[in-house]
Amino acid sequence: MEPKTEPEVTAVEEALVEEELLVEEISIDGMCGVY
C-alpha cells in the first residue's frame, strides 16, 4: 500500500481494505465438486 499525500484518503482506503480483509462471505453452493 503506497502512502498518499492526503491523510484522510489514506485512512478511508485502509479502513475499507481492512473491512474487506476481515469478513468474506462465500456461497455454500458456489463450490465446484458437489452435485
Partner: protein, 397 residues
Amino acid sequence: MTATQSSPLTLISKSASTKTQAVPPLVEQLKGGLDAPICLTWELTYACNLACVHCLSSSGRRDPKELTTAEALAVVDELADLQVFYVNLGGGEPMIRKDFLDIVDHAVSRNVGVKFSTNGYYIDKAAAERFAATDLLDIQISLDGFDAETNDAVRGKGSWEAARRAMDNLADANFGEFKISIVATRHNVDQLDDYKKMADEYGAQLRVTRLRPSGRGVDSYQDLRLTHPQQQQIFRWIMDHPDVLTGDSFFHLNALGKDTGETLPGLSMCGAGRIVCLIDPIGDVYACPFVIHDEFMAGNVRDTGGFASVWRESDLFQELREPGAAGACASCNAYDACGGGCMAAKFFTGIPLDGPDPDCALGHADEAVAAASAAGVVPQPSQDHSRRPVSLGAKPS
C-alpha cells in the same frame, strides 16, 4: 486519524496493526485445502431404480461391499467431529437404502446439515410429511427437461411424472423451499425460462449444473453437450438470473466474460480434494463425484484413520492442494478467468490435465477432443454398476 506518508514509524505501525494484510485472498487459501471439507457429496448406494443415460456414478446395481448401517453412522460421526457443515447425500437413488432415514436423522442430530439429491420416486405423501418435519434438511429433485418428452429421453419413461409428483407432495406437505436441479444439455437449454417459472410456482430454488463426461456421461457426452452458441446463451442466462444456483459448475465459461470483466457468481475454482470430495457407497474417497476413477481415488473410509486421515494425509489430496501450472493454457489471456476449467471433463475426454477444458468456450480444445476420441484414448470410469446397456428412452424398472 494520524496517518501520514512521511514517518517510517507510522508505516511500520500500520502494517503491525493490520495483521490481516498477511492473510491471502480467500480463494487462494481454499486452493491450499482446509483441514476438513466445508461440505461433501456422499453417495449412499449404487442401487437405482432409474438408468439415466448420463449418470455420473454409472448407478443401477447395489454393490455388495456397500457400507453397513453401523459404518455409515460412524462416517456421520466423523464428519460431525470434523465439523463438516453439510453433507450432500446421493447415489444411485439414496432413498432406496432402508436405513436412509436413520442416516439422515443421525446427521441432523449431530448438527450436520443434509441435502439429498433424488429422482423423487419414493417421495410419497408420508415421506413428504416426514421430511417437512425434519430440521436442517434440504431436498434436491433431479429433472432434465421441462416436459416429459425431453426429460424422459434422458432419464427414462415415467421419471418426469414421478419427479413432478414428488414436488407436488413436498408442496402439499408445506416442506418449504426445495431445490429443482437440472443438468444443462443441448436439448433442454432452451427451456431454462420455463424451468425458472416452474420453480417459482413451487416456491422452489432452481439449480442448473454442467453436464460432465463422467460415468455413463462418457458415452452420451457428444450427443448432449452444449454447442458453442449454447454456451454463450447459458452464460448470459446465468448472469441474468443471479438467484439461480449453479454449484459453481460453469466457471470454465468465465472466459466469455474476459473482455467485459463479467464472472459468474461462485468461487470459480475446482474444489476437488481441497474443500469438497466424494465418499462412494463402498467407502472409497474420490476427489469429487465427477472423477470416479482410480486415478482420483484417495483412499477408503475403512482404512485405519478413517475419513479424516484420507482427507488430511492422502497423497492424492496433498497433490491437488499444490499450486497447479497453467500448462498449455498459460498463453491464453482468458486463463485468469477460467482457471483452465474442470479436471474431470479433461480426464474423461482424454485431454491432459494441464490442457484446455474440452468445453473451452474459446474453442481451444475442439481439435484435441476429436483427436482423443478418434484415437480411443478416452478413459472409462473405474466403477460401473449399470444394470444393463443403457439407451435413450429406456423404461425404468
